[in-house]
C-alpha cells in the first residue's frame, strides 16, 4: 500500500502545465501528487476561452501526438473550430478552437481523476524541502510535508501575484483567488534569480446586454477539423463569435483614465508582452489608429457570459464601463467581471536545462509561466515535458529532449534556456527555423513513436499512425505511377488558368502545379479511381498533396536540419572552463558561463554571441 505522504513526483499547480505534468507522470507509472490551492480551479482557462491559434495550434497537435491530453480535452469541450491560415501554405495551417470554459476545466479534472496514479491535495505550498542540492519534497501552509523524488513547479501567475484595477491593487493569483508566497523567497535564498512579469485580461460581459445586429458574425469552419489524432469527434454544431471595433470616442474615454492607470502612473513596472498589449497600450502606442478590433467570444455552450477579446485593460472600473459602452453594440453592456492586470514572479529560464530541470536543484522542474512564458499551449507543453522528465528521472531512464527540428516544443524550450526572455514568451511560427517540417498535419509522424516509446501514448496511436502511413504510401505510389492524357485534363487546366499539356503527363507533375490540387483533379476519371481506391481521409489526401507539392522545399529544409545536427554533435563539456579561452569577448564569456550551452549549435543561438567568438570556441574545442 502506498504511503500517504510519499510520492515519486509532486506537481505544484493545477493549470495547463500542472495538469499535463501530473497526467504524464502518472501515465508513465509514477506515483504522482497534484497539489493545488483550489481544486475547483483545476484546468482553469484564466484568460480567453480558446485553445490553439497560429503556432499554438501546432503545439497542441504535438502534445496530442506525444500522448498528452490538451488536444482531447479541447476536442471534447470546444464550441467552435477554425483552421487558421488556410490560404498560406500547409506549414502555416493552424487549428484554433473556442472552448466551453466550464466544460474544459471539468473534463481535465475527470481525465486526471481517471488516472489511478494521480492523487490530489488542496493546499498552498510554502516551501520546498531541499537537501544537498536535491529536492526531496514540499511543505504546505498547514505544515504538512509531502515527499517525492521529483517536484514540478507550475505556479502560473500565483507567486507573489499582485492584481491591479485602476488605482487599486491587492495580492492574488487570479481574480477571486489568493496568491502564493514563500517559494520565490526560498528559491532566491537557494541562489535562483527571479524577476517580475505582467499580463492582463479583458472584462467579461453579459451577453444578454449586447446588440448583435451591430456586430459581424464570425462562424466556425463549414467542415470543422479537430486537434487530436485519436478518434474524437469533430463538432456537429458550433457557436459563432462576433467582431466589432472601437472608435475615437472609445479611445478618448479611455485616455481620460490614463492618470489612474497603473500602466502609466508607475504602479506597474514589470514587462508585459509586446504582442498582447492592453487596449490603453494600443491607443497610446498607435495613436494614429482610429479603431481596434474587438472579438466577442462566448464562454460556453449555454452561458450568457462573453469574453471581450482585444480589450485587455487595467483601467479603473468606471472607465472600463464608460469606454466599453461606447463600442458599437455595447451601449447597454453590463460588466460581469472587470478586466485587470496581474504582476507575478518568474525565474529567468536560462536557469533550467533542456529537460526543464533546474541547474541548481536536482529533481526540481519548472514549467509554464514560472519560466516566463505566456499561453495555455506553451504552458501545457512544458508541463508535459517536465512531467515526462520527472518520471524518467524517478525511473532512472534517459532524459527526453526534443530537438528544434522535431517540434515547436523543442524550439520553445531551446529558446527559453538559450536566450532567456525579457517579456512573456509566446510561440510564433517564425521562431522555428524548420517551420516547413513542423506542420500540424505531421505531428503524429514526428512524435507519436516517441510518445509510445516513453510509455505515454497508447499502442493504439501507433497502430493508427502505421495505418495512415501505409495509406499515404499507397496513394503516393499510385499517383506516381499514373499518367494522364491531354484530353482528360486540358479542360480542367484551362478553367484554372494553368497551361495545357501537349502529351501524356505524370499525374504528380499536375499536382505540383500551384494552381491545382488533388480535390480538383478528382474530376479526372483515372485520378478519381486512384483517390477512391481506398477510403482515404481528408488528412491523408492533404499529406500526399503536401509531399508532392513541397518535395523540393522539404528536401532542402532537411538538408538545413542535417547541417544543424552536425553542429549539434560538437558537444561542449559540462564543466568547460571558459576562463581559459583567452580570445572570447567578455560579453560572450559571461553568456557562455551563465547559459552553459551543451553543444556548439546551442552556443551559436545565444544572442549577442558573435561569429568570431564561435570561431574562437571552435578552435579551442579542437576542431
Amino acid at each position: 500500500m502506498k504511503h500517504s505522504n510519499k510520492y515519486d513526483v509532486i506537481v505544484v499547480g493545477g493549470g495547463h502545465a500542472g495538469c499535463e505534468a501530473a497526467y504524464a507522470a502518472g501515465k508513465m507509472g509514477a506515483n504522482t501528487l497534484l497539489v493545488t490551492m483550489n481544486m475547483q480551479a483545476i484546468g482553469q482557462m484564466s484568460c480567453n476561452p480558446a485553445m490553439g491559434g497560429v503556432a499554438k495550434g501546432q503545439i497542441v497537435r504535438e502534445i496530442d501526438a506525444l500522448g498528452g491530453m490538451s488536444g482531447i480535452v479541447t476536442d471534447e469541450t470546444m464550441i467552435q473550430f477554425r483552421m487558421l491560415n488556410r490560404s498560406k501554405g500547409p506549414a502555416m495551417w493552424s487549428p484554433r478552437a473556442q472552448s466551453d470554459r466550464m466544460l474544459f476545466a471539468e473534463k481535465w479534472r475527470l481525465v486526471l481523476e481517471s488516472n489511478p496514479n494521480v492523487d490530489f491535495y488542496q493546499e498552498m505550498i510554502t516551501s520546498l524541502i531541499v537537501e544537498q542540492g536535491r529536492v526531496i519534497g514540499v511543505n504546505t501552509a498547514l505544515g504538512i510535508p509531502f515527499y517525492a523524488k521529483a517536484v514540478v513547479l507550475t505556479n502560473g501567475t500565483f507567486l507573489n501575484g499582485l492584481i491591479h484595477i485602476g488605482e487599486q491593487n491587492y495580492g492574488g493569483g487570479r481574480m477571486g483567488e489568493r496568491g502564493a508566497t514563500g517559494i520565490t523567497e526560498q528559491l532566491n535564498a537557494l541562489g535562483f534569480e527571479s524577476g517580475r512579469m505582467k499580463t492582463g485580461t479583458p472584462p467579461r460581459v453579459d451577453g444578454r446586454s449586447l446588440d448583435y445586429s451591430k456586430f459581424e458574425e464570425q462562424f466556425g469552419d463549414a467542415q470543422p477539423s479537430k486537434f487530436s489524432y485519436t478518434p474524437t469527434r469533430p463538432l456537429a454544431k458550433q457557436r459563432s463569435c462576433w467582431i466589432t471595433y472601437t472608435n475615437p470616442e472609445v479611445h478618448d474615454l479611455l485616455r481620460e483614465g490614463f492618470d489612474r492607470s497603473p500602466m502609466f502612473n508607475g504602479a506597474i513596472q514589470s514587462t508585459g508582452p509586446r504582442y498582447c498589449p492592453s487596449i490603453e497600450d494600443k491607443i497610446n502606442r498607435f495613436a494614429d489608429k482610429d479603431r481596434h478590433q474587438i472579438f466577442v467570444e462566448p464562454e460556453g455552450w449555454n452561458t450568457v457570459e462573453m469574453y471581450i477579446n482585444g480589450f485587455s485593460t487595467s483601467l479603473p472600473h468606471d472607465v472600463q464601463l464608460k469606454a466599453i459602452q461606447s463600442i458599437p453594440g455595447f451601449a447597454n453592456a453590463k460588466i460581469f467581471r472587470p478586466g485587470y492586470a496581474i504582476e507575478y514572479d518568474y525565474f529567468p529560464p536560462t536557469q533550467i536545462k533542456h529537460t526543464l530541470e533546474t541547474k541548481l536543484v536536482t529533481g526540481l522542474y519548472f514549467a509554464g509561466q514560472i519560466n516566463g512564458t505566456t499561453g495555455y499551449e506553451e504552458a501545457a507543453c512544458q508541463g508535459l515535458m517536465a512531467g515526462i522528465n520527472a518520471a524518467l528521472q524517478v525511473f532512472e531512464r534517459p532524459a527526453f529532449i526534443l530537438d528544434r527540428s522535431e517540434a515547436y516544443i523543442g524550439v520553445l524550450i531551446d529558446d527559453l534556456i538559450t536566450k532567456g526572455t525579457e517579456e512573456p514568451y509566446r510561440m510564433f511560427t517564425s521562431r522555428a527555423e524548420f517551420r516547413l517540417l513542423l506542420r500540424q498535419d505531421n505531428a503524429d509522424q514526428r512524435l507519436t513513436p516517441k510518445g509510445v516509446a516513453l510509455g505515454l501514448a497508447d499502442e493504439s496511436r501507433m497502430l493508427r499512425l502505421e495505418e495512415k502511413l501505409n495509406k499515404i504510401a499507397k496513394l503516393n505510389s499510385d499517383l506516381t505511377q499514373l499518367s494522364v492524357e491531354p484530353s482528360e485534363v486540358n479542360d480542367l487546366l484551362d478553367r484554372v488558368s494553368s497551361s495545357p499539356i501537349k502529351q501524356r503527363s505524370k499525374a504528380v507533375a499536375l499536382v505540383s502545379r500551384p494552381q491545382l490540387n488533388l480535390r480538383q483533379l478528382n474530376e479526372v476519371a483515372t485520378i478519381a479511381d486512384v483517390l477512391q481506391a481506398d477510403d482515404y481521409s481528408e488528412e491523408e489526401i492533404d499529406q500526399v498533396e503536401i509531399a508532392i507539392k513541397y518535395a523540393g522545399y522539404i528536401e532542402r529544409e532537411q538538408q538545413n536540419v542535417d547541417k544543424m545536427v552536425r553542429l549539434q554533435e560538437l558537444a561542449i563539456p559540462e564543466q568547460f572552463d571558459y576562463q581559459k579561452v583567452k580570445g572570447l569577448s567578455t560579453e560572450s564569456r559571461q553568456k557562455f558561463e551563465k547559459i552553459r550551452p551543451t553543444t556548439l549549435s546551442q552556443a551559436s543561438r545565444i544572442s549577442g554571441v558573435s561569429p568570431a567568438d564561435l570561431n574562437v570556441l571552435l578552435i579551442y574545442l579542437g576542431r
Binding site: 498560406k88 498589449p277 502606442r285 517564425s430 567568438d613
Partner: protein, 463 residues
C-alpha cells in the same frame, strides 16, 4: 591554429631598407628575448619593464654581436595580437634581417604563417572577422587603390553598408512574417507589387556590392591587360616604356625600392597586370595566321586589351583592322584601346578607318617615349577606377563575395516566387536563406529581436 607557440616574422617590406622591423609575439616572447638581448652588458628583467617602452640594446648569438637594435615592448594583451609582443627595429640589410630571424628561431620562436599575426589578433578578440580579413588584404595590397579599399573595409565602411542592407532585409522579412504569424490580426498587409518593388531595390543593392568584387579584386590583384598586335608592332618596347613610368611612381608612393616586376605595372595608383607575356608573344603568330582562336581566351580574360599596331605599316592596315574587329566581336566585356605606335615614323596617319572599332585611341612612339602620358590616362580611364570614390564600397574579400552571391540567389528566388504566387511560408524559406548568407558577414539575425521586434514596433498586434 596553435596559439601556444611564439611566432616571429619580418614586419617591414621585403628587401633592403634603412631599417627593418621584426615582430615577435606569443607567451615566450620575453623568455626568448632574455636569451639574445642585452642592454649594455646586462640582461633585462622583463617584469620591471613597463609596457609600451622602447629599449636600446644589442642582439647576441652567444657572444657574437649581431646588431644594435631598438626593441618596442607590448605587454598584458595590449598589443596588435593581444599577446606579449616585441618589435625589434634593426638595420635594414637583408643579411641582418635573416640573421635575426634565424637567431629567434634557434631560441624557441617559430616562423609565422601568412596572416598569423592577424589571426591571433582575431582569436584574441582584437578585431572582428571582417576586420581581420581586411588586414590580410592590407598586407597583400601594394597599390594605392588597394590600400584604400582595405583601409575602408577595416574602418567599417563595408560593415556600415551591409548593416543598412541587413536593416532593409529585416524590414522586408518582417512584412512577410507579419502575414504568416499575424494573418488573423487587423493590420494592413503589403501588397505583392509593393513587396516586389522593395525586393528589387534590395537585390539591386546586393548586386552592386557583389559586382564591386570584380573591381575590388582588380584593385588587389591588378587589372588584367592584354597587349595584342602583329610582330614588330613594338610590344616589348611599349612594356619597357611603361615599366619606366611605373618605377618613378612606385618610389614616390611607397618610398621603398623593389625589383621591377616584369608584368605588373602601377600607374596613377592603379595596378595593371599584363597577362601572360608569352601569350602575347604567341598572339603574333596567331594574328599572322588569322587563326585567332587562342587569342580570344586571353582577351576575354583581360579587362583591357591594347590593340597595338605600327602606324607606318599602312599596307597591312586593312588586314590588321579586320583581325582586330574579329577579336572585338568575340570579347564584348573587354575595353579596347587602339594604340598606333611608331607615330614618329608615320608620314600621314589617319584614324578615320579605325574609329568604329573603339573610342579609345592613342598615338605613341614607344621608342621615343612620346604619347605615354595619354596612354596612361587611357589605361586608367579604361580601368573604370578613376570613378571610384572614397565613399564607394568595394568588396575585395572572396568570402564576402560568396555570401553576397548566395544572398542574391536567394533574393532572386524570392522574387520569382512572388511572381509565381508562391505561398508565404515558401517565400519566407528563401528569405531566410538570404538572411543567413548576409548574417555570415554581419552576424546573426535574431528572430525575436530583429524580426518580431520590427513587427511589434510597427504594427499594432494582439487581441
Amino acid at each position: 591554429m596553435n596559439t601556444a607557440t611564439t611566432i616571429c616574422a619580418i614586419a617591414t617590406a621585403p628587401g633592403m631598407g634603412a631599417i627593418a622591423v621584426i615582430r615577435l609575439s606569443g607567451t615566450a616572447t620575453f623568455d626568448i628575448l632574455s636569451k639574445v638581448f642585452k642592454k649594455g652588458k646586462r640582461s633585462v628583467i622583463w617584469d620591471d619593464v613597463p609596457p609600451y617602452s622602447m629599449l636600446y640594446g644589442s642582439l647576441y648569438d652567444g657572444t657574437t654581436l649581431i646588431d644594435d637594435v631598438v626593441v618596442g615592448i607590448f605587454k598584458g594583451g595590449k598589443s596588435y595580437t593581444g599577446e606579449d609582443t616585441a618589435e625589434i627595429s634593426c638595420h635594414g640589410s637583408v643579411y641582418i634581417q635573416q640573421r635575426i630571424i634565424d637567431l629567434l628561431l634557434q631560441n624557441g620562436a617559430t616562423l609565422a604563417g601568412p596572416g598569423e599575426f592577424s589571426m591571433r589578433a582575431f582569436a584574441n578578440g582584437k578585431m572582428d572577422l571582417s576586420q581581420a580579413e581586411a588586414v590580410a588584404d592590407l598586407i597583400f595590397s601594394e597599390s594605392a587603390a588597394a590600400h584604400n579599399v582595405a583601409i575602408q573595409q577595416m574602418r567599417g565602411g563595408f560593415s556600415k553598408r551591409l548593416q543598412e542592407l541587413r536593416e532593409k532585409l529585416i524590414n522586408f522579412v518582417a512584412l512577410i512574417e507579419l502575414e504568416l504569424d499575424f494573418g488573423e490580426e487587423d493590420v494592413e498587409f503589403a501588397n505583392r507589387t509593393e513587396l516586389q518593388d522593395l525586393l528589387q531595390a534590395i537585390s539591386a543593392e546586393v548586386k552592386k556590392l557583389a559586382a564591386s568584387f570584380q573591381l575590388g579584386n582588380a584593385i588587389k590583384n591588378g587589372l588584367p591587360v592584354a597587349i595584342v598586335g602583329p610582330p614588330n608592332a613594338g610590344k616589348s618596347t611599349l612594356l619597357n616604356a611603361l615599366l619606366q613610368e611605373d618605377k618613378a611612381l612606385v618610389s614616390d608612393i611607397a618610398g621603398t625600392t623593389r625589383d621591377a616586376i616584369e608584368d605588373e605595372i602601377t600607374l596613377e595608383g592603379v595596378r595593371f597586370r599584363f597577362i601572360d607575356t608569352a601569350g602575347i608573344r604567341e598572339t603574333t603568330d596567331v594574328v599572322e595566321n588569322m587563326g585567332i582562336q587562342k587569342t580570344y581566351a586571353k582577351i576575354k580574360e583581360a579587362a583591357i586589351a591594347l590593340l597595338l599596331f605600327d602606324a607606318s605599316d599602312t599596307e597591312n592596315h586593312a588586314a590588321i583592322l579586320e583581325t582586330f574587329q574579329a577579336l572585338q566581336a568575340a570579347a564584348t566585356d573587354t575595353t579596347f584601346i587602339l594604340v598606333a605606335n611608331k607615330i614618329d615614323r608615320a608620314t600621314a596617319f589617319d584614324w578615320q578607318p579605325w574609329t568604329a572599332l573603339s573610342p579609345h585611341r592613342v598615338t605613341i612612339s614607344a621608342l621615343a617615349q612620346t604619347g605615354l602620358d595619354e596612354l596612361t590616362t587611357a589605361l586608367v580611364a579604361g580601368s573604370g577606377l578613376q570613378h571610384w570614390q572614397q565613399a564607394d564600397i568595394i568588396v575585395s574579400n572572396s568570402r564576402h563575395k560568396q555570401a553576397l552571391l548566395a544572398a542574391l540567389a536567394a533574393l532572386q528566388a524570392t522574387e520569382e516566387g512572388i511572381t509565381q504566387g508562391l505561398s508565404g511560408d515558401l517565400l519566407a524559406f528563401h528569405l531566410r536563406d538570404a538572411l543567413k548568407s548576409l548574417g555570415e558577414i554581419t552576424g546573426h539575425i535574431d528572430v525575436d529581436r530583429d524580426i518580431l521586434g520590427t513587427i511589434f514596433g510597427k504594427f499594432c498586434i494582439g487581441k
